[in-house]
């Protein structure tokens, strides 16, 4: 470093980034529609949000219901079979999928702007005229069972599956995916009934973002959807609050021959609707949000223990969690584990430094436009706003709220929600080597890839 070190150039005057405003309408059948003009290219991102149609609504013993229902929407409609539907989509170069999250299912259509009307007509057909043919259901169910067997060979899947299972025991959030048992038990009639009661237009919101003005988008939406039936009344059940976790425990999934140990810690934190969620995001950025954060800097750049160490917050409707992870070569499992927990513990006790806090605020403020560069990005904002019951101006005011977070508030939120003495550590690796190591950190239960160890 030279004595006359040159300083990085300061920014020019900031340019405003103004989010699009969504225009709303409600069709006679109850379907809410939200539309905004956005994006640089002639394309439209269309989403239909079905709250309550996610995997948390899977009936006990039928784990995988929402997932297989979503897959089987493309199994055929009253007008065409599965192949006919596939051809119709590809003729439009459209991409359509119906995917289940935990609190909702979302149908997503990506379509060129010139084909919007045809694309919306096809989307409406899939959502209201699907016949869920027995053979297509059966194929999807069988394939998903085999997919699960494949996923159990991936360390990341095993860690996340075991973590959720122990963090939310007996709770609908405790499952990462379908289960073999649930899939075996499902029938075609059950998924058809699930679709009929959970995918009602009267309970859904259609979101369009793309290269046309909102009125044009709204007109196209009502042409495609307004004559359709409202659908059945959706059950007004809500997901119960997650169970309380006491203390700290370790759950080791044995994966013989692993050359790495994957460590994934999580503890209960904040639901998205909690007003302190934004404060927690700012705090998390200092601890483990990116390459300039404390975990990455110390564990990779200073101590050479890993390719990457991060922390994050994830929020669902009924609760949320704080997570942190590190992957390391088997031989340094002890150093990586103690390194990770020492840093989290210190952060929970002392919070970010003034410099870290400033950088985190600046990062979150400045990077706000990056994921919102595309129509799909702003549509996703609207989906999460609606799903979590956030106010209309949530995203318009988000940067003001981030900017106002003080270091003291970040310290308090870290103390309240990042303390690792409560929580679950899921570990995946070669148990014959790392079990004794992990046992020195806490009560360790051994699991196999497919469940409890006999």
């Amino acid at each position: 470093m030279s004595a006359t070190r040159r300083l990085p150039p300061p920014p020019s005057p900031p340019l405003p980034f103004v989010l699009p405003t969504f225009t709303g309408a409600r069709l006679a059948n109850g379907l809410a529609v939200r539309a905004a003009r956005w994006g640089r290219r002639p394309t439209v991102a269309v989403s239909v949000l079905f709250p309550g149609a996610g995997s948390a609504a899977d009936p006990p013993g039928r784990e995988g219901m929402a997932e297989i229902t979503g897959d089987t929407f493309l199994g055929g409609t009253r007008r065409r079979d599965a192949r006919g539907l596939a051809e119709a989509l590809d003729d439009l170069a459209a991409i359509l999928e119906v995917s289940a999250g935990s609190d909702s299912s979302v149908a997503r259509l990506s379509i060129l702007e010139k084909d919007l009307d045809d694309g919306l007509a096809l989307l409406a057909e899939v959502l209201t005229e699907s016949t869920f043919p027995e053979d297509e259901f059966e194929k999807n169910r069988r394939r998903q069972i085999d997919v699960l067997a494949e996923q159990r060979s991936e360390p990341d899947f095993l860690a996340r599956e075991r973590l959720l299972d122990r963090l939310y025991p007996g709770h609908p959030y405790g499952r990462l995916t379908a289960t073999e048992k649930g899939l075996e038990a499902l029938t075609r009639d059950e998924i058809a009934a699930f679709a009929a009661t959970r995918f009602s237009l009267s309970h859904a919101t259609l979101i369009l973002a793309g290269a046309a003005d909102p009125d044009t988008l709204l007109r196209s939406a009502s042409r495609a959807f307004e004559g359709l039936a409202a659908g059945l009344r959706v059950p007004a059940d809500t997901v119960p609050p997650p169970p309380r976790i006491d203390g700290f425990s370790i759950h080791l999934v044995n994966r013989p021959g692993s050359v790495q140990t994957n460590l994934l810690f999580a503890r209960p934190a904040l639901a998205r609707r909690n007003p302190r969620f934004t404060t927690a995001l700012v705090a998390n950025q200092s601890l483990g949000g990116g390459a300039s954060s404390r975990l990455f800097h110390v564990l990779r750049e200073e101590r050479s223990l890993t390719y990457g160490a991060y922390s994050s917050l994830s929020a669902r409707v009924a609760g949320g969690q704080f997570s942190a992870s590190i992957d390391c070569r088997t031989e340094v499992t002890r150093e990586a584990c103690s390194g990770l927990f020492d840093l989290i513990r210190a952060f929970a006790a002392g919070g970010p430094t003034g410099e870290e806090h400033e950088r985190s605020r600046k990062y979150l403020l400045g990077s706000f436009p990056i994921p919102r560069e595309t129509p799909g990005g702003v549509a996703q904002d609207e989906i999460s706003r609606l799903l979590h019951g956030l106010p209309e101006d949530e995203w318009a005011t988000w940067r003001d709220r981030v900017g106002a977070v003080s270091r003291q508030e970040a310290c308090r939120v870290a103390e309240d929600f990042f303390d690792p003495d409560t929580g679950i550590l899921a570990a995946v690796g070669d148990a014959k080597v790392i079990r004794p190591v992990l046992e020195s950190f806490g009560d360790t239960t051994l699991w196999d890839a497919d469940g409890p160890r006999a």
Partner: protein
């Protein structure tokens, strides 16, 4: 320079004409390891500071290494263009290399190899597939390299590599986003004027022998749950007319909901758990790849026969008019979807700019593919997807499972 107004973001991308293909035996993985060192500080940037400065500006950044090139990029608020240019110019002009940094990033890269390759099902078999398909060393070895070679990399290697390949004349700068081109050019000039000219290396060239007959290899994979199959065909370099035709074959066989191979083997007949068709386009000989996981109870012999049978039928009958029309629509739609962000546009322009000297060739190539007729597509499949240029790797789960 590509102005993209409306959203106040800018992507700064420097792509260097160096990839893993330049690595000789004994130095595998070095181009990528060196990419890591480029983030560790230069004359005016201390260790860790690159990450911090980009974060404070509200930017995202990264670098990637392929067989053919290495790129470095930041996406920043448009008013921070100068910062991106400063960071790139400083590390192009005066990177600071130390053994401590090398040792640190060596471990990070070894961990990356464990994470992405050694500890994942099927990932090692992709290295086997490339080693089998190619004869010449440049594409025969993997970008991530071998643990032994990573371990052996020295500080002198790093200094030599920087001196040889990181000359300004061996790089292309792309600026894409909410900028006024004249103003941005002035800023670029001011930032990069102080980077002294250095001798740029001669264009890398190598000779890959012509395909000489089918090759086969069987590998065991201790992490795989199901058997899998690679069927690869060695073909010409990117932008060769054969590749334009094969990009249509790729779509008709594998893209969308109707891609023939995927639709029949995965969806309709439930013989494969997954199947992908991809054209791995390189500056030298490229690969037309099919990779598939077998469903339980389906032997790899059966899966291979089904895949080869479908390829033969396609080569014999060619595409239907509707398939041709669909492939064209898919191509246009994917060109739209692939150019929605400043970063994606920067990547596209950089590769054409660096490899071909003309960033605008992207449009030309889309037009060239759209102009192809069914006969040309059929001819390409019949001529190129043949046993002579084929290499097949079968992946079998190894049986040994140990108790804890």
């Amino acid at each position: 320079m590509s102005p993209q107004r409306g959203i106040p973001l800018v992507t700064v991308d420097v792509t260097y004409d160096v990839g893993s293909r330049v690595e000789p035996p004994g130095k595998t993985g070095f181009a990528h390891l060196f990419e890591h060192l480029m983030f560790e500080g230069s004359e005016n940037i201390g260790k860790g500071e690159h990450f911090r400065l980009v974060a404070e500006a509200g930017g995202s950044m990264n670098g990637t290494t392929s067989e053919d090139r290495t790129n470095y990029f930041e996406t920043l608020p448009a008013e921070c263009l100068d910062l991106g240019l400063f960071l790139e110019a400083d590390r192009m002009r005066a990177l600071v290399l130390t053994l401590e940094k090398l040792d640190n990033q060596r471990e990070a890269v070894k961990e990356e190899k464990r994470l992405r390759v050694d500890n994942q099902p099927y990932a090692p078999s992709f290295e086997t597939a490339d080693a089998l398909a190619y004869d010449a060393f440049p594409y025969k070895h993997s970008v991530i390299g071998s643990m032994d070679d990573l371990q052996a990399a020295s500080l002198d290697d790093a200094r030599d590599f920087y001196g040889r390949y990181y000359a300004p004349g061996n790089a292309l700068l792309a600026v894409v986003g909410d900028v006024d081109p004249a103003d941005a050019f002035r800023r670029v000039k001011s930032a990069f004027d102080e980077v002294p000219a250095r001798e740029a290396p001669a264009r890398f060239a190598f000779v890959e022998p012509s395909p000489s007959g089918e090759r086969r290899e069987r590998v065991e994979d201790r992490h795989a749950a199901m058997p899998a199959l690679h069927v690869n065909f060695k073909v010409k370099e990117r932008r060769h007319p054969d590749l334009f035709a094969l990009s249509v074959v790729e779509r008709i066989l594998g893209a969308g909901e109707t891609g023939r191979l995927w639709r029949r083997l995965v969806k309709d007949d439930s013989l494969a758990l997954s199947l992908s068709v991809s054209l791995d386009e390189r500056r030298g000989p490229s690969l037309f790849r099919v990779f598939s996981l077998a469903r339980p109870g389906v032997t790899l012999e059966r899966l291979e026969a089904e895949i080869l049978g479908d390829l033969e039928r396609f080569a014999a009958d060619g595409p239907t008019p509707r398939e041709m029309e669909r492939a064209r629509r898919l191509l246009l739609a994917s060109a739209v979807r692939a150019t929605q962000t400043t970063q994606a546009i920067a990547f596209l322009l950089s590769e054409y700019g660096l490899y071909d000297g003309d960033p605008g060739l992207f449009r030309h190539d889309v037009e060239a593919v759209l102009a192809l007729d069914a006969a040309a597509v059929k001819d390409a499949a019949a001529r190129l997807l043949v046993a002579t240029s084929r290499s097949v790797v079968t992946v079998v789960p190894s049986e040994a499972k140990e108790a804890a």
